[in-house]
């Protein structure tokens, strides 16, 4: 064990001290931060106002929408069909339709637009609507409470029913409002469009895993080839077992990757915070305020005043960042983070062992091509299929691909933000761990023989033979 630690230490220190590592560590956050800052900057320069037609069949919400410098809300009193026709004629208008409901709480909004409505607008609308619904629910609850405490009120056996009802209402006071978006094409066809943050988060997660596997898996492979071509390998394996060397390398590189990843996140936040403090006007609503708002809506039942001040103010307009934070809160964050780290780590470990085996099987990097195919195909395939999976995260295809260990790290990450049954996550995770042991066992066999083979062009048949050599 002590020797594995020495190997990990060497791998880690030599890689972290490299110039390329330092350059990447500095450049990465600048790129990432600009991804966050640039849209904010661009949005702050944009000054054309958008008109939003509101067809509010419930009559509950319209007057709650406040105009600001980006949006003007205009009431529409006509049928949905007419409203849509007007929209088609006038082009730049956006139509928000809140259908009336008979039994359920009206928590649905539909946006029709020929443009993609910004996350901003959607966030604002759902914010206002849920706030209003919460207010209504609370009022109903308070009414019940008053009724129960009225001396003349005799409901007989109804008392318990009322109690139960108020409890359910309390539980349901936190309301999620669904805003669906339909893009109205030029032909008037309606297409469902996706701006859901869940997708962005899932897709971002799987791309990170994909990149991590490729970047750092390839580093493992290059490290093995380096040891082979510099011929130090035989000196080392006369001191340690080949398996120890392979695992030490894989773990060392993983730690380099994690270090880089954490530094990126830290630096990105530092840069963003620095920019935010330097240009406060562009970032009016800080996310501490945001936290207050969520805090209030949770704390509502305990408050005496039913109506919390409507703190979702109209000037949210420019802040994309807060929106991202807001959207994050709609996802089950602990599950997301734990499963991201899990798939990140084990996905890498599974593939890194294969990369190490390839490195051992060849004499130089140009020879790696023929063996890279079986590794790159499932990875690229899963990233391509991920786009289909996003549209239909419950399909059999999505299910099976998230069970196969070669594709599950990428595919599962796409699905998790949409909510995946726990047993599926556990099963897929279990299969991935078993897959990791399997590939490592296989790779170690190839590695053990391959590192001492020189000059021979290895073929798949050759590798197959190596697997069955006795220690």
């Amino acid at each position: 064990m002590n020797k594995i630690f020495l190997i990990i230490q060497r791998e880690y220190l030599t890689k972290v001290k490299k110039k390329s590592f330092i350059v990447m560590t500095i450049l990465g956050p600048i790129l990432m931060a600009s991804l966050f800052i640039l849209p904010v900057y661009l949005a702050s320069r944009q000054d054309d106002k958008q008109l939003v037609n509101v067809l509010d069949e419930t009559g509950l919400f319209f007057y709650k929408f406040e105009n600001n410098e980006n949006y003007t809300f205009v009431p529409v009193i006509s049928s949905l069909k007419e409203a849509k026709e007007t929209l088609a004629k006038q082009g730049e208008y956006m139509l928000l339709h809140i259908p009336a409901t008979q039994l359920n709480i009206p928590d649905n909004g539909v946006i029709y637009s020929d443009k993609q409505p910004t996350l901003n607008l959607k966030g604002y609308i759902s914010g206002v609507m849920s706030k209003e619904l919460e207010k209504q629910k609370l009022a109903a609850e308070i009414r019940n409470e008053i009724l129960r405490n009225t001396p003349g009120y005799t409901a007989g056996n109804d008392t318990t029913a009322v109690d139960l009802m108020s409890e359910t209402i309390l539980k349901n006071i936190k309301t999620d409002v669904k805003i669906t978006t339909y893009k109205t094409g030029s032909g008037g066809e309606e297409q469902k469009s996706f701006t859901e943050m869940t997708m962005v988060v899932g897709y971002f997660g799987s791309i990170m895993i994909y990149m991590f596997i490729f970047l750092f898996g390839a580093q493992v492979m290059r490290g093995v080839i380096e040891e082979k071509t510099s011929r130090i390998i035989e000196v080392i394996i006369s001191s340690v077992k080949p398996f120890q060397l392979m695992m030490g390398k894989i773990i060392g590189v993983a730690m380099v990757g994690l270090t880089q990843f954490l530094l990126w996140i830290a630096f990105t936040f530092i840069i963003i915070t620095a920019v935010q403090t330097a240009f406060p006007q562009q970032f009016k609503k800080t996310h501490t305020e945001q936290a207050q708002i969520t805090g209030k809506s949770v704390a509502l039942p305990n408050e005496t005043a039913p109506a919390a001040p409507n703190s979702i103010t109209a000037d949210t307009g420019n802040d994309d960042m807060n929106e991202i934070f807001e959207a994050f809160s709609s996802i089950n964050l602990p599950v997301m983070i734990v499963s991201f780290l899990f798939y990140f780590l084990f996905g890498y470990l599974l593939y890194a062992a294969l990369f190490a085996a390839i490195g051992a099987a060849v004499d130089n990097e140009t020879d790696t091509q023929q063996f890279m195919l079986p590794i790159t195909v499932p990875l690229i395939f899963s990233l391509v299929v991920a786009q289909t999976v996003i549209q239909n995260p419950e399909s059999p295809l999505a299910f099976w691909l998230s069970m196969i260990p070669l594709t599950s790290p990428v595919i599962m990450m796409v699905r998790i933000p949409f909510g995946v049954p726990t047993w599926e996550i556990l099963l897929s995770g279990g299969i991935l761990v078993i897959g990791f042991f399997g590939t490592t066992w296989l790779a170690a066999k190839i590695y053990r023989t391959g590192i001492l083979m020189y000059g021979k062009k290895s073929s798949y048949r050759e590798l197959w033979k190596w697997i069955w050599y006795k220690g």
């Binding site: 020495l6 030599t14 011929r231 000196v235 069955w468 050599y469 220690g471």
Partner: protein, 311 residues
């Protein structure tokens, strides 16, 4: 006996790399492991280093079956050797010494001593790629011996060294033996075998075909042949009335004739001298001792000649 391999067999698929090979390496000696390319020497060395395990047979080190505890007692300089090019010399030497089980502190102390001995202290902070090949070999030698192993295995240690460094290295190897180490020495350089080795084993096509102390082997191959040189002004070949003395060779160069005789086992050098002295003026006389090179070539050829060539 520090190391004993008992009928070790190793197969790679259908290929047999070692076929029931046994060797015995006495303590505090230099043991030569000889054989043509591809004979199985490296496989045997890798088994001793526990890089691979034998399919059959066993290896006994210092009275015990070879086990992972022995790794720190063995130092190995492979034929194909190298260092991490981008790493600093000192850092790398420390790393490799620690992999052999030395503590960081001990490794540093001992390395410093060796670097002083070889007068290469100023290389400590240089990157390996900045050193010449010969310099790298010196560093490599140091990391092989720094943990003071009981058994040292050198695979072609002199390749890549200039003559001055070959001498330096040879002296070091002899000193290691003086200090109690045992050395297994695999090489094609027969001159160095003759100079250094106490015992040898010759492996050919995965089978051991010859082994024993160098002196005894030479005695086995002793042919009772002698070389005589005398002045020959008129260029007449030598005539001798002794049918027992077989003339193997006779050449003349710059009026000096060299004749090689082989004697029957009943006769000695004095018999030959007394037979020829009446006729010629002898200016040189010496016994023809077979070199290890001759023994190597004749033994390998004899074995290969008697074998049906493999398909």
């Amino acid at each position: 006996m520090i190391l004993q391999a008992n009928s070790v067999t190793k197969k790679f698929g259908d290929f047999t790399a070692l076929n029931k090979v046994s060797i015995h390496v006495p303590e505090n000696s230099i043991f030569g492991l000889l054989g043509p390319n591809g004979a199985g020497k490296t496989t045997l060395i890798r088994i001793i280093n526990q890089i691979t395990g034998p399919d059959e047979g066993e290896v006994i080190f210092d009275g015990k079956k070879l086990n992972p505890d022995h790794i720190s007692m063995i130092g190995y300089l492979p034929e194909e050797r190298g260092l991490y090019k981008k790493m600093k010399v000192g850092e790398q030497a420390l790393y490799l010494a620690q992999l052999k089980g030395l503590s960081h502190h001990d490794a540093r102390l001992r390395l410093k001593k060796w670097f002083e001995k070889f007068e290469i202290q100023e290389w400590w902070d240089k990157k390996v790629e900045e050193l010449s090949k010969g310099m790298q070999q010196k560093v490599q030698f140091i990391v092989t011996v720094v943990h003071e192993p009981k058994l040292l295995i050198f695979d072609e240690p002199f390749s890549g060294f200039d003559p001055i460094n070959v001498n330096l290295l040879r002296d070091e190897i002899l000193e290691l033996r003086k200090n109690g180490s045992t050395i297994i020495f695999s090489t094609h350089n027969m001159a160095s075998v003759e100079e250094l080795c106490d015992n040898i084993a010759l492996i050919n096509k995965s089978v051991k075909i010859l082994d024993g102390p160098v002196k005894e082997i030479k005695r086995q191959y002793f042919t009772n042949s002698y070389q005589v040189q005398y002045r020959d002004f008129n260029g007449t070949p030598f005539q001798l009335n002794e049918p027992d003395f077989e003339i193997l060779n006779s050449t003349v160069e710059d009026e000096i004739r060299t004749v090689t005789f082989r004697l029957p086992s009943s006769k000695g050098p004095n018999d030959l001298l007394s037979a020829i002295l009446p006729y010629v003026n002898v200016i040189a006389f010496n016994e023809l001792i077979p070199s290890m090179n001759d023994i190597f070539i004749s033994t390998v050829n004899a074995v290969n000649g008697n074998q049906i060539p493999e398909a």
